[in-house]
Symmetry: C2
Subunit: 492 residues, 2 copies
């Protein structure tokens, strides 16, 4: 069907097109059906919505995602994408080959899959799993369809944590240590999805985090490191689309995690990577056995992609660091780089940095680089290169002024600090959107407590959000204090 | 956030709302996020799209599905629906209880699930299956959320085929036989989704098929039967939404089939039902063992819902009847009711009708009712009650005038007639949208063939669609002719 394209200002995550009901009936399509649009000898896919008023018969309303489609177009109902056959195979628990995974990755990249089909893909890889071979192919395909950075260096370092632990802000400490040791480390990080702060949110307190690949290359050439948001570059475009489907379902199949992480590292040009797998109650990986299995698979897939992977299995059953939320975590980072800060944050950062440096064949010692102030100096160089204030101090970073101090109502020891509840409270208080919101922990597991001892303080930028957070504090137990000999946790 | 609702004419299958980008940022929502809309002390769910131009800040653009939302509204980001937790449980292969299934059914009914979440639900029930208990609860919940018909009669008959066999148009023959025997049979049928004709498409050649529940009750009170489209009533509103998610993936989990079918029958007030399970190469169920298992489960779930179920396992490896497509199947139906027609269509209809009559405790014999002309007379009464021409004859039903006769190019016997290819060719020729399009089969499995014998004729309403169909005919083998002793089917 010949139609004339007309721009309609709707900003949709989907490539939505508006058809007049008359044309839609003639074409034989229903709302949410896909149509193939031929324009300028090129092809795009649109998702149909109907209208009687917004566009006339003979006109194709194109929304923002398809704003580049103009002039006279030819429209037919889109054939079902090939990926759907392969997704069906996965649902039937049949292993997919490289060609089939490549087709799925391409169809996801080109937005050819409907949300129902995308939901089936992430569900199928979750319930039926991905074999090691599938994971290798998937990582390869996901890297191939993204942009890439080339480096002249033989060794380019990187690090990643699979997450789930609150306040685990080791990255802004490790990156300047490694960079100060003379090794390039072009680190891209995520923003928070379900947590109170991602590394990108924390860094944004101190400097810009959105840069193009060219700008990233410039920053790293100048300072050996960067701490930028991965979402502003196109290293693994398919990953963002998959994560969008996984997030509402809270599913994160191990094979998909590995393919997502390593495809991005491959595209970033990294050669030596340390992957941190925190495990324990409330972390993403709950058992040591599962953590080991994931670590082994990371190493195998890394080998396949020609990258050297070191994995650290770390204790993740309680938050690392004291601050939770962008500003509060940035304070911990600056403190630690200055030789102070929470001891557990310092130790974990040094341990991971040493393993990464050793793997890169670098003689330097992380503790020496940190204690000498070289890491802090490099961090300030990176801040300057990323448009921040290199002279920022902890005092410039002011926690949310609405405060709720929470104290112990009994004596005992701290037996548990709940990652998930800590995150939920910090989010209720406004993090990560309100940068100064969140909480500061005043205790760790094992601390002796007497009634009235401070456990944590919630910070918010508005009184309303503090009240919101307070409601959750009152009905839950983010920090568990028990008598030293009490074995009972819950009665069910 | 307080907003003023403004109608925007977009007809979406989803409850889409348009937010100005400024308001969306303030609210903290992204495209495709769900918002909860409070209006008139009631609550609706909307799916967000952005715009800079179509609505001003302070305004909520509501589209057709939410056209009833007017005036001042209060909007917050919608909390995640409870169903998502239970879907996640199903993905982890944990059995769901009645309360959890009820929540899923309600959230689907109220459009609270995103397509990704709906895709995960159908995928999870496919890969991990539904237990018999889950199927029972699901059927119960699906029936509860729909409208229902009440009858004063102790016995109300119904029939259903799980489908996948081309030209299997036994329903318009069975319904008038049962109705003529004095038993009410309020039959609702589907339109074609992936086939060249559903029973509703075929009946639409002869009369109207869209009626309200009150009208259906009137038609059945007058004639004992009806043959209407189920989509125009609200007997199992959740079913349509689930089918929409299953169709693109071609998945149809057995438990979901049973719950879908029986929830509709329960709502229609039926007490005695015959379920036809065709099996064989190319049918929906391919093995006898699978057919038996499905049949047993149908009977158990029927018991639970207080309905008497008889199942027939029938041969489904080749089409029943000669015509494929709405007009061509309607011709077979009229012929058979008049005592002629394809023998296999007559025999299958009689066999199913006898089983249903016997189960209803009715003394009548199907063959006697058909041969005496009483079934045809009742069929004509139903046509009249449904606004059709009761005096219609086969000659009024003209096949598409563009014809492609296909003849054998070798001698042998017909070893296979492929349901799926037959359907695909008929659809290419224009069925079901072009009512007179489709094909007529001139042979069945076992027929002796000499070169030049007619195998089938394709009919189309336009030359273009005939050419489309011809391309598929040329590159495939819908009717397989082999020498009598040839064992080889394919070499892989």
């Amino acid at each position: 069907m010949k139609l004339a394209a007309q721009y309609i200002d709707i900003g949709s995550r989907a490539p939505t097109v508006l058809l007049n009901t008359v044309d839609a009936a003639e074409l034989g399509v229903h709302p949410l059906d896909r149509i193939q649009i031929e324009y300028d000898s090129r092809t795009a896919i649109g998702i149909v919505e109907f209208t009687d008023e917004l566009v006339e018969p003979g006109t194709l309303g194109v929304t923002r995602r398809l704003g580049y489609v103009t002039g006279d177009v030819d429209v037919i109902p889109a054939p079902q994408p090939n990926a759907v056959h392969y997704i069906k195979k996965k649902l039937d628990d049949i292993e997919l080959d490289k060609h089939e995974l490549h087709r799925i990755v391409l169809d996801i990249k080109q937005d050819r899959l409907s949300d129902v089909e995308l939901g089936a893909y992430v569900t199928g890889t979750y319930t039926n799993g991905l074999s090691l071979e599938e994971t290798m192919y998937l990582a390869e395909c996901m890297a191939e369809v993204g942009d890439a950075i080339q480096w002249d260096d033989a060794v380019v370092a990187d690090k990643h944590s699979i997450g789930g632990v609150a306040g685990n802000r080791v990255t802004p400490i490790i990156v300047p240590i490694v960079a100060a040791a003379g090794i390039k480390i072009p680190k891209t990080s995520s923003r928070a999805v379900t947590s109170p702060a991602g590394t990108a949110d924390t860094m944004e307190v101190l400097c810009d985090v959105e840069f193009s690949l060219d700008e990233i290359k410039e920053i790293v050439t100048e300072t050996n490191g960067c701490l930028v948001w991965g979402g502003s570059v196109n290293l693994s475009p398919v990953d963002d689309k998959i994560i969008r489907a996984e997030t509402p379902l809270s599913i994160d199949p191990p094979g998909q995690i590995i393919a997502s992480v390593l495809s991005k590292k491959k595209s970033a040009g990294s050669t030596h990577i340390v992957i941190d797998v925190p495990y324990g109650e409330g972390a993403k990986v709950e058992s040591l056995a599962a953590a080991r299995e994931l670590a082994e698979d990371f190493k195998r897939v890394g080998d396949h992609l020609g990258m050297h992977i070191e994995c650290t299995i770390t204790r993740g059953s309680q938050p690392i660091g004291r601050g939770i939320g962008p500003v509060l975590e940035a304070r911990d980072v600056l403190d630690t780089l200055a030789g102070n800060g929470p001891e557990e944050l310092r130790l974990k950062s040094l341990r991971l940095a040493d393993i990464l440096l050793e793997s890169c064949g670098c003689g330097g010692e992380a503790a020496e680089i940190l204690d000498s102030g070289r890491a802090l100096a490099t961090f300030r160089d990176i801040l300057a290169a990323q448009g921040g204030d290199p002279d920022v101090t902890v005092d410039d970073l002011v926690p949310g002024r609405h405060e709720l101090p929470v104290a112990a109502d009994r004596a005992g020891v701290v037996t548990h600090v709940d990652n998930r509840l800590v995150s939920d409270i910090a989010r209720r208080a406004g993090a990560p959107r309100d940068k100064a919101a969140g909480m500061v922990l005043h205790c760790r597991v094992g601390d002796e407590i007497v009634p009235g001892d401070p456990l944590f303080t919630v910070h918010a930028e508005s009184a309303e959000k503090l009240t919101d957070a307070e409601r959750l504090v009152d009905k839950s137990e983010a920090v568990r204090v028990r008598s030293r000999d009490e074995a009972l946790v819950e009665r069910v």
